[in-house]
């Protein structure tokens, strides 16, 4: 019996998210007295696969099959479910990101398993199996029991600390034998975001709202973002107005993010905005209105003009870096 964790790779590399997931899988496996199997699909070098052992993966299933590059939801779900059956998986963990969210529900039906998505941290108990997640778009927590014998979870990024836990890892080449007919989506075009810190990966996020007045005023924010190695975000009206790309829109109807530090400039803090950012560890708000609701969600704040504060912050960060 095992906990199966589907570790996605990005151009052959694992990310912090992958290690968080293996760490979580390892903690659950300990609670249940079973082992951890990681499933990797795509071209990943043996050394990289073995690195999962550092976080507790006893075995790594290595699937190398170019057909999966189309990310066909049906075929991927089939592969994950087959690996789960082969490994006698009691718990299957996928990421709560675009790929994980797409395939987890399908996997759960195939395995007759209950699904909880966006799980934070380890189960409260494994018998009965009870997990915790945020509901009402970050406004509350819920404890949910999964009643089936097999459980599928999607894991909310940044909700479990990486734990090193070296074990011996066996890498096993695995072919789930998916028929050609299962691959039905054809990719016509792929656009990858390069050269920028991805919002979903960013530890620090610099965000601007309507208080920034116009797209021509983002220079300071971008400079600050670059200094901090931050991802860039914005409120919905900013992307609706076309001041910034839709990819930067965070909130209930945009991206949900959970960085260590979220810096909000000229954002009022509407409930729908907070729905996407309130899982951030530390929130900083700069707003000229002392009554702005963002200050109720923030940990640190400055009541003031963003245009005066941003250049000072840039200077202070530069000083901190040289100190």
């Amino acid at each position: 019996m095992s906990v199966l964790v589907y570790t996605e790779n990005w151009d052959g590399k694992f990310k912090k998210l992958s290690y968080e997931m293996v760490s979580l899988a390892s903690a659950i496996a300990k609670q249940m007295g079973i082992t951890v199997t990681a499933l990797s699909i795509g071209h990943v070098a043996d050394d990289e696969l073995k690195s999962l052992g550092k976080y507790g993966a006893n075995k790594v299933l290595n699937v190398q099959d170019n057909r999966f590059e189309s990310l066909d939801n049906k075929a991927l779900a089939d592969a994950v479910a087959k690996a789960a059956s082969k490994e006698g998986a009691k718990v299957i963990i996928l990421a709560h990101n675009n790929e994980g969210k797409a395939i987890a529900p399908r996997v759960s039906v195939k395995l007759n398993a209950g699904l909880v998505s966006g799980v934070i941290g380890t189960p409260l108990s494994v018998n009965p199996f009870v997990v915790r997640k945020k509901v009402f778009t970050q406004k509350a927590f819920a404890n949910i029991q999964i009643k089936s014998d097999i459980r599928v979870l999607t894991f909310a990024q940044n909700s479990f600390e990486i734990v090193e836990n070296n074990v011996d890892t066996a890498v096993e080449v695995y072919d789930p034998q998916i028929a050609d007919g299962e691959f039905n989506t054809k990719v016509l075009d792929t656009h990858k975001i390069t050269g920028k810190v991805l919002l979903s990966d960013a530890e620090i996020v610099v965000s601007g709202g309507r208080g920034m007045k116009g797209p021509e005023n983002w220079g300071g924010l971008e400079e600050l973002g670059e200094l901090l190695g931050a991802g860039m975000a914005c409120s919905r009206p900013v992307s609706d107005e076309g001041w910034r790309s839709h990819e930067e829109h965070v909130g209930q109807t945009g991206k949900m993010i959970a960085p260590n530090l979220y810096l909000a400039f000229g954002i009022s803090g509407a409930i729908q905005h907070l729905g996407g950012v309130s899982s951030s560890k530390v929130i900083v708000a700069v707003n000229k209105d002392p009554e702005a609701p963002i200050f109720e969600a923030a940990d640190y704040g400055i009541v003031g003009d963003a245009f005066k504060v941003i250049p000072q912050l840039i200077e202070a960060v530069k000083e901190m870096k040289t100190a």
Partner: protein, 245 residues
């Protein structure tokens, strides 16, 4: 081609969330119900495609009790042609998907939202596709239909893609599928009263998960304020106190 848009009935996005005494269930007292924002955008796109000739009629479906009828009427007022309500308390995603699997047969395109804004289950669309044994595409941010062929835009982790995918298919939609949701006009509201809203009995299906209880987050400590001309102090606090820089 036939299109089905799934409609989840959720509290208005500004609702103050409260739970009943023992924190066992959501307190629906005084709650305004709306169409889940993603479903509203899905319906909007369905209408644009219908106007462009891709579909003759738009059907919407919901699994819910009588409470959800005003939400379904709203979908009809926005422009759906007929509504189906499976008369049951939605127990969990698998239960709901099992009900919808009976309704969804025969449709070429089924639109679901990426998650319902109440329990954020992110499950129904994918489960439905699996139960029907058909393809699904998730994180869909655009849909075009030309001569019956689908061109689907979707987000992947770290980028986006354009796909062609055969029908029948479940498309699980998010931001971008439509820009502004349509709101019902007076005429639409009048017409909606005459449109069919069929209530059907649920099938036997199990739920696999159960909510044990809810909790509101602990009240946040007061925000620590720094003077406008002292940004340096803010950086110091973030570095030394919060340790996030």
């Amino acid at each position: 081609m036939k299109i089905l848009v799934l409609i989840s009935n959720v509290p208005d996005t500004t609702t103050k969330i409260r739970f009943t005494g023992d924190n066992k269930s959501f307190d629906t007292n005084g709650v305004q119900w709306i169409i889940n924002p993603w479903d509203e955008l899905a319906l909007t796109r369905a209408m644009e495609l219908k106007e462009a000739g891709a579909f003759e009629t738009i059907t919407v479906a919901n699994v819910g009790t009588q409470i959800t009828e005003s939400t379904l009427r709203k979908a009809l007022a926005v422009g759906a042609d007929e509504a189906i309500r499976v008369d049951a308390v939605p127990q969990d995603a698998f239960f709901v998907a099992s009900q919808l699997a009976k309704v969804a047969e025969g449709y070429d395109v089924i639109l679901a939202g990426i998650e319902a804004s109440d329990y954020n289950g992110a499950g129904v669309g994918g489960m439905l596709a699996e139960l029907l044994g058909i393809n699904s595409v998730s994180a869909v941010s655009g849909l075009e239909i030309e001569n019956g062929a689908l061109k689907v835009h979707r987000d992947i982790d770290g980028g986006s893609q354009v796909l062609s995918v055969p029908t029948p298919v479940v498309l699980i939609v998010q931001k971008g599928i439509a820009i502004e949701p349509r709101i019902p006009a007076m005429r639409g509201i009048m017409m909606a009263r005459k449109k069919p809203l069929n209530v059907i009995a649920p099938v036997d299906a199990e739920s696999k998960t159960e909510f044990l209880g809810f909790e509101l987050p602990a009240p946040k400590a007061a925000c620590k304020m720094v003077e406008e001309d002292n940004a340096k102090e803010l950086i110091r606090l973030l570095h030394e106190e919060a340790k996030v820089l």
